[in-house]
Symmetry: C2
Subunit: 195 residues, 2 copies
């Protein structure tokens, strides 16, 4: 899809990817609820009607944006890993950190949805489903005897994802590499800090 | 301080503590920026002028509310712990989880400030100072040989606090006890999950 921007000279044109990138920036800066179609028009340099030519409104833009993060995270769950559940768990944790670094604004948006609209409730449900899949993996790793059995699997999966999700608060490309972050999370969570 | 509410019968009265509790709930539900003095009057059952009798406006209410979380977190840093830096670090992590559970709405607000006002910038600076103190403790524990030396202390302190802070997203009194959460964080972070 290409969207033509208003303006006097050559019209600016955005691919859907470029449009979404600008929209997500705006949602993250203002908050989704507080962002109007006027704000999106200003941020993208498009008229409202040219945006409406391609999407039904800001809720569809939200859904397209969070779907990008959701799809990338669920793809990680399906990556084949040979070996026991603990290795799959470690893989999911490390690769989720990669996705977060790679799709930072989209994951940030996903983590901030509040549930006021259908698109947000869908995103929250996908987050819960991801959490269930991760808890099941923790449980499997405990059952196989590779993960300590004295912690509640739900608590473990929440803490793991607290640590991964918290990265959106401070990660900026260039400070640490995504693989340093992923390695750090895995080292801390699976081996522990104490020597 | 006692604030008298409007109303026909006996005027409702709030202590400053009760007033803050209602205000923080409103800030967390709407976002600080989006909350007006009208919203706060509605939420507290007070007139705007009776609120203005006691504070200069919503920014002072924000400052009072985040100060509560900040003071509780900094008090943890000053709690005396005999022993090596790694034990002090473990203590700070566990006790921060207690503070979070105990002061959940205030810590939630602290973690959501954005920096648009003086009070918010002060809160962000206190968060950075806490982060520096925690990083220094990680560095000391590495220097004493008790914490693995292959991870950047800044990364470690950010991951530890990502895990602690992430708890505000899901913790509700009654699901887990605060001490289960603190113990889980310490077990995961210091000993690791792998058996």
């Amino acid at each position: 899809m290409t969207v033509t921007a208003r303006g006097r000279g050559r019209p600016a044109r955005h691919s859907l990817d470029e449009l979404l990138a600008l929209v997500v920036q705006e949602f993250n800066a203002r908050g989704y609820d507080a962002t109007s179609m006027e704000d999106l028009a200003r941020a993208t340099g498009l008229t409202k009607s040219s945006i409406y030519n391609h999407v039904s409104g800001k809720e569809e833009l939200l859904r397209l944006a969070v779907a990008r993060a959701v799809d990338a995270l669920f793809a990680v769950l399906d990556e084949p890993v040979a070996g026991p559940a603990v290795d799959r768990l470690e893989h999911v944790v490390r690769r989720s950190a990669d996705v977060l670094a790679d799709q930072l604004p989209y994951v940030t948006l996903l983590l901030r949805v509040r549930g006021n609209t259908e698109a947000e409730r869908w995103a929250l449900e996908r987050r819960r489903e991801f959490d269930r899949r991760l808890s099941a993996l923790v449980r499997a790793a405990i059952d196989e005897g590779d993960v300590r059995a004295d912690l509640d699997p739900r608590l473990v999966s929440r803490l793991l994802f607290g640590m991964v999700n918290g990265v959106v608060e401070w990660y900026r490309p260039g400070t640490h590499s995504a693989s340093d972050v992923g390695d750090g999370i895995v080292a801390l969570a699976f081996e522990g800090l104490r020597r």
